[in-house]
Each structure stands twice: as structure tokens, then as C-alpha cells.
């Protein structure tokens, strides 16, 4: 890979105090995102994927770890202090366009709000930019004076995307951007994100629980479990030869349209509560292949093939 990463995250940790105990929501996460690429971040609820995204954008402060955005070191532990010039290049698309848009704000004002906050836009320049953005996300240029409730769910997500693009960011974090949408709307939004990436050279961190959606948009995919990345690989490799038992179980659990029914519960048990810390590998209580070492020693994420990393004692030696 010759392209330099624009996002470098190292050993990110986020703990929350919960009922007198410490909950490790994010537990030593490291990854890079390169210019123009999409890194998919997939995991089940409680895996820490959304918290990771929120720390990157400054909505949460990390407990420890380092973040480098566009070559500049960010104080990840203080939150919200990211320099404006850096912050502008980084934007966020939320899951639920129903709740993330102000119901009393017209579409054009929601889209222009980042411009108004950044300042330096003339009235006509601002309005031209709004119309340009509406067109860019596939909405009629004339619909800016409508309110959120006058749009469908898919259209509202288009508005959310237009708003995120207003300041011409380089890196967009999308947190479950299509999971509240119907299948026929979902495909439209995924394609729109792909088109915009091609046209504008955007990089995405695409956070989702739906493995098929993640495959359709990502170049590389990281799988999170109980606060840590258990596997990260180029897309095709992750889906065709997953190496971590959790990734394998996750892929096997998705009910497919095509395959024969051979449906059995693939793994038993549930995600551990992150308050009772699991010794050794966080997945060992559910892992069908766990052996003694897994219960005692936490496996490190290590390269097992070029660009393919897994945190599993069974994958100790390069294949």
C-alpha cells in the first residue's frame, strides 16, 4: 500500500464508570484509514464500534490512546478540542435521520448549518452551495424549504449526508447509516455513498452490524468483539477466508437467501458484560475451539498474511 493513511488510531481505550465498576467499552483499538478508502467496522451491540467512531469525531473523550488525523496528533483524551481546521475535514453521518435532524429546521437550513457555523459564506454563496449539495445527494434542488417530516426515511438520510458534505470533508464517519432503512432504500443510499466517494475522493469509516452491507461498501473490514478488534483484513479475504472463530461464527449466523437451510445456532452464549472482565481472550467463553491458553492469555492482533491481522492463539504462525 503506497497511499499514506490519513487516520491513524493507536491503542484507543475508553472506560465508563457503571454502578461502581469500570466498563471497558473500547479496549486497545488500533487501525489506519487510507486516503480514498473505506474501512468497515463491524460488530454486534456492545462491541465498541460506535464508541470508537464517536471518539474519533470528538463526541466522546478517550481514556487513553492516540489519534492522528491528516498528519496532526489529536488529544484524544480531552475530546472536543480538535482544532477547527482538522475538525472541518472530518464529518459524521448518524444512524437515524429521524432523530438526528431538527424537526423544526428546513432541509436547506439543516444542510447549511455547518456553513453558518464555519462562517465566511455570503447569502447567495450559501444558497448556491445548498442547492449544489441537494443535487449531489439526488434530491430536487427545489426541496430545500421543506421540513424533515415531509421526506421519507431514505430522503432524510440523503439530507444527513448533504449536511455532512457541506464543508467538503476528506473523511466521513458513517455510523449505521442504513440500518434504519428498508432494503430498497438501503441499496440506494449505499450506492450514493459509493458514487460520492468516487467523485469526491472521500475516505469512510463505515460502522455497521450488517455484514452484507459492510461488504458492499468497504475495501477493508475490521471485526470488533467486546471492545477490541479481533480481525482486520482486505474485504474479499475477510469474507472468503475468515481466520478468527468469532468472524467465522458471525458469517455463518447470517441467514442467507440462497443457501440450503442448515440452520443451527452457530455459537452459544452472549456477549460478556464488559464489567466482569474476562481473563484471556474475550471470546473464549463462546469459542468452540478454546483451549487452555485462551483462558489465561489475551491474544494480540498480529499479521497472519499480508494485510490480514487476527487476534487468536490458533493463528500464531503465518499461514
Amino acid at each position: 500500500m503506497s497511499v499514506a493513511p490519513i487516520v491513524v488510531v493507536r491503542d484507543l481505550v475508553k472506560t465508563f464508570a457503571a454502578r461502581g465498576a469500570l466498563l471497558r467499552a473500547v479496549d486497545g483499538v488500533s487501525f489506519d484509514v487510507r486516503q480514498g478508502e473505506t474501512l468497515g467496522l463491524v460488530g454486534e451491540s456492545g462491541s465498541g464500534k460506535s464508541t470508537t467512531g464517536r471518539i474519533l469525531v470528538g463526541l466522546e473523550a478517550a481514556t487513553s490512546g492516540s489519534i492522528n488525523l491528516f498528519g496532526q496528533e489529536i488529544s484524544s483524551t480531552r475530546g472536543r478540542v480538535t482544532p477547527g481546521a482538522v475538525r472541518r475535514r472530518l464529518q459524521f453521518v448518524f444512524q437515524d435521520p429521524q432523530n438526528s435532524l431538527n424537526p423544526r429546521m428546513r432541509a436547506q437550513d439543516a444542510i447549511a448549518e455547518p456553513l453558518d457555523v464555519a462562517g465566511g459564506w455570503s447569502r447567495s454563496g450559501r444558497n448556491d452551495r445548498v442547492r449544489e449539495l441537494l443535487e449531489m445527494v439526488g434530491l430536487p434542488r427545489s426541496c430545500g424549504d421543506r421540513f424533515p417530516h415531509e421526506f421519507s426515511g431514505g430522503q432524510r438520510q440523503r439530507i444527513g449526508i448533504a449536511r455532512a458534505l457541506a464543508l467538503k470533508p476528506d473523511f466521513v464517519i458513517c455510523d449505521e447509516p442504513v440500518s434504519s432503512l428498508d432494503v430498497s432504500m438501503q441499496a440506494q443510499i449505499v450506492n450514493l455513498l459509493l458514487d460520492l466517494q468516487e467523485r469526491l475522493g472521500l475516505s469512510y469509516l463505515f460502522i455497521a452490524h450488517d455484514l452484507a452491507v459492510v461488504r458492499s461498501i468497504s475495501a477493508r473490514v475490521a471485526v470488533m468483539y467486546a471492545g477490541g478488534i479481533v480481525e482486520i483484513a482486505p474485504k474479499r479475504e475477510l469474507y472468503t477466508s475468515p481466520r478468527h472463530p468469532y468472524t467465522q461464527a458471525l458469517l455463518a449466523a447470517v441467514p442467507r437467501i440462497t443457501s440450503n437451510r442448515a440452520h443451527t445456532a452457530v455459537i452459544t452464549g452472549e456477549l460478556p458484560s464488559q464489567i466482569d472482565t474476562v481473563a484471556g481472550c474475550t471470546f473464549h467463553p463462546r469459542c468452540p475451539l478454546a483451549f487452555e491458553r485462551c483462558r489465561a492469555e489475551k491474544p494480540k492482533l498480529r499479521e497472519i498474511a499480508p494485510g490480514h491481522l487476527a487476534a487468536c492463539h490458533l493463528q500464531n504462525t503465518p499461514a
Binding site: V183, N191, R215, P255, A265
Partner: protein, 329 residues
């Protein structure tokens, strides 16, 4: 289904009172479920899949709902015209229901014990001690470990998957003939979803009950149901066996929906989309309700409401041009 179905919904039309008068949420819906069968009902939001299912037990708010036409035949009874008192004997006894969100369908201020014992006391007249013993058995049946201790917990102490297990225990407490499951795994993670579907499958076999599974997830239907009803904008657009529907979808909407699902096992450049938006129920569309989004729509589609036609072998579709052309594109 050669023999008489366990339950059949015939020409059901349900209207809700809206700001601008009565709106048809579903119109002329027909489907039937056989004894021991699992029928899937799939559709996107606004398709009327949940409205149809909730109508079976008349669970809609009475003050703003009108059952404008139809019948729901169960044995020799019509559930739509059954008196409230008699309907209550059916609900939770012979026909039980589970919902999407197990948190909001369990009562947060009652223990698990209270909630599982209620149908047992109500429908089977068990004593408190007998009901409690039975409740523990049921919790074990849905694989909740340490059931005799867990039974005195409140719902907030349980994970989402556990709560759905409790809901299922309540639903199957009286060994129902029919279980209506409305998006039972939508709120759950995929590894938990596969556990719950497996549990439902085992219980279905053990109790010999029929299941109506309502879902937006085509994969869940493909893996779990025998027959499928596809709904769009308040109408049934296609009915077929699971293999027939996925191998030879007849309605352009069904076909589009199957193609729009992102494939887990293949890389694509772009996803296949269905253009346009899902219509609002209050919007009146002449002719076929899918015609504004249909790439194959011909003139007659825009004016004449299409009928649901038997294309042979129990495969029904509401698309005259496709049926005339032999069905398969």
C-alpha cells in the same frame, strides 16, 4: 395445503382514522396457514404485514380502527366477529403472539414469574404453586440457565436475547396451535438471532404449532418458513412456496427486493436498487400500487387494479403482464 387450513384471512381490509379521514392500511388481504406450517409474511415499512397480523387477534386500538371487510376463519369461527369475551379465550391460549421488542412488551414492574404464570392461571386454571412449577419448566424449555433463580428477576436484569426467550416462554405456555411472531429477531444481534430462530424451530416441532413469521428480512424467511406472502403498500403482491419464490419470483417488486439485498458471498460494484420511494398509505394510486416504481409498467398497470392470480402450483402473483408472459422474466 390440501386439507382445511388452521387459519385463513380472507379479503381483509383494515382502515385507520387519520387527520384527513379513514386511511386503508391493508386492502383485500388473503392468506392461510396450515396446521404445523410456518408462513412468512415479508414486506418493507408500510406494507401492512404487521397490521394484518395484529388484526388476527384484533389487537389494534378499537377507537380508531375499522375492519371494513373480510373474515378471519379459525375452525368454524370468524375471529373478527367473535365477542370480546370469547376472543380473550383464544388470545394467549390457542393463538399466541410475540413482538419485536421484548423490552417494551414485558412489564418492567412485574417479575418474570408473575408474567409467565399469568396465562397459565388465566387459561389453564392452575394453582399458584402448580403455575410456578410449570413456569420454571418453561424457562428451562427456552434454555434459560438457572431457571429457578432467574424466575424471580425483573426484565431489566436480562439481556435482549434472554427477554425474547422469556416472551417465547410466555407465548408457548399454553401450547398454542398458532404462534404469531412479529419481527421476533429484528432487535437482536445476528448470533443471538440464530439461537432464537433455532429455538422457535425446535418448539414448533415439539408442540406441533403453526407459525406466522412477520419480517422484513428475506434471509430469515428463506431459512425458516415453508411458504411466503409478499406484501407491498397494503396488498399481497405474491404468495408462493419458499423455493419457488426465491428461485422464480413473479412480481417485479419481489424480484427487485430479492436483488436489492446485499450479498454476503459476493463482491459487487454497485447494489441493485428499486427506484423511487415507498408510497405513503394515504396516497391514492390508481391501478397497480407498485406501478410508479416499476420498470416494466404498461398502460393498463396505471389504471386497472390488478388481481392476485394463480399462476399454477400454488404460486399467486398480482401482476397481469408477468402472468400473461408466463411469469418468469
Amino acid at each position: 395445503m390440501a386439507e382445511k387450513p388452521l387459519l385463513s384471512v380472507e379479503n381483509l381490509t383494515v382502515q385507520f382514522r387519520g387527520d384527513a379521514g379513514w386511511v386503508k392500511a391493508v386492502e383485500g388481504v388473503d392468506f392461510a396457514v396450515g396446521a404445523g406450517e410456518c408462513l412468512g409474511i415479508v414486506g418493507e415499512s408500510g406494507s401492512g404485514k404487521s397490521v394484518s397480523a395484529l388484526s388476527i387477534l384484533k389487537l389494534h386500538n378499537q377507537s380508531n380502527t375499522r375492519y371494513a371487510s373480510g373474515a378471519i376463519r379459525y375452525g368454524d369461527r370468524d375471529l373478527l366477529t367473535l365477542p370480546q369475551r370469547r376472543l380473550r379465550q383464544v388470545r394467549g391460549g390457542e393463538i399466541a403472539m410475540i413482538f419485536q421488542d421484548p423490552m417494551s412488551s414485558l412489564n418492567p414492574v412485574l417479575t418474570i414469574a408473575d408474567q409467565i404464570m399469568e396465562p397459565l392461571r388465566q387459561h389453564q386454571g392452575l394453582s399458584v404453586q402448580a403455575a410456578r412449577r410449570k413456569a420454571i419448566e418453561l424457562l428451562e424449555m427456552v434454555r434459560i440457565s438457572d431457571a429457578s433463580r432467574r424466575i424471580d428477576d425483573y426484565p431489566h436484569r436480562l439481556s435482549g436475547g434472554m427477554r425474547q426467550r422469556v416472551m417465547i416462554a410466555i407465548a408457548v405456555a399454553c401450547r398454542p396451535k398458532l404462534l404469531i411472531a412479529d419481527e421476533p429477531t429484528t432487535a437482536l444481534d445476528v448470533t443471538i438471532q440464530s439461537q432464537i430462530l433455532e429455538l422457535l424451530r425446535e418448539l414448533q416441532r415439539e408442540i406441533g404449532m403453526s407459525v406466522i413469521l412477520i419480517t422484513h428480512d428475506l434471509g430469515v424467511v428463506a431459512q425458516f418458513a415453508q411458504r411466503v406472502v409478499v406484501m407491498y403498500a397494503g396488498r399481497v403482491v405474491e404468495t408462493a412456496s419458499v423455493p419457488a419464490l426465491f428461485e422464480r419470483p413473479m412480481h417485479p417488486y419481489t424480484e427487485g427486493l430479492i436483488r436489492a439485498v446485499p450479498n454476503l458471498d459476493e463482491d459487487v460494484h454497485r447494489l441493485t436498487t428499486i427506484p423511487g420511494n415507498i408510497p405513503d398509505p394515504s396516497m391514492s394510486i390508481a391501478g397497480c400500487r407498485f406501478s410508479p416504481r416499476c420498470r416494466e409498467a404498461v398502460k393498463s398497470c396505471l389504471s386497472e387494479p390488478p388481481a392476485l392470480v394463480d399462476a399454477g402450483a400454488g404460486h399467486f402473483a398480482r401482476c397481469p403482464p408477468r402472468i400473461a408472459a408466463g411469469g418468469i422474466s
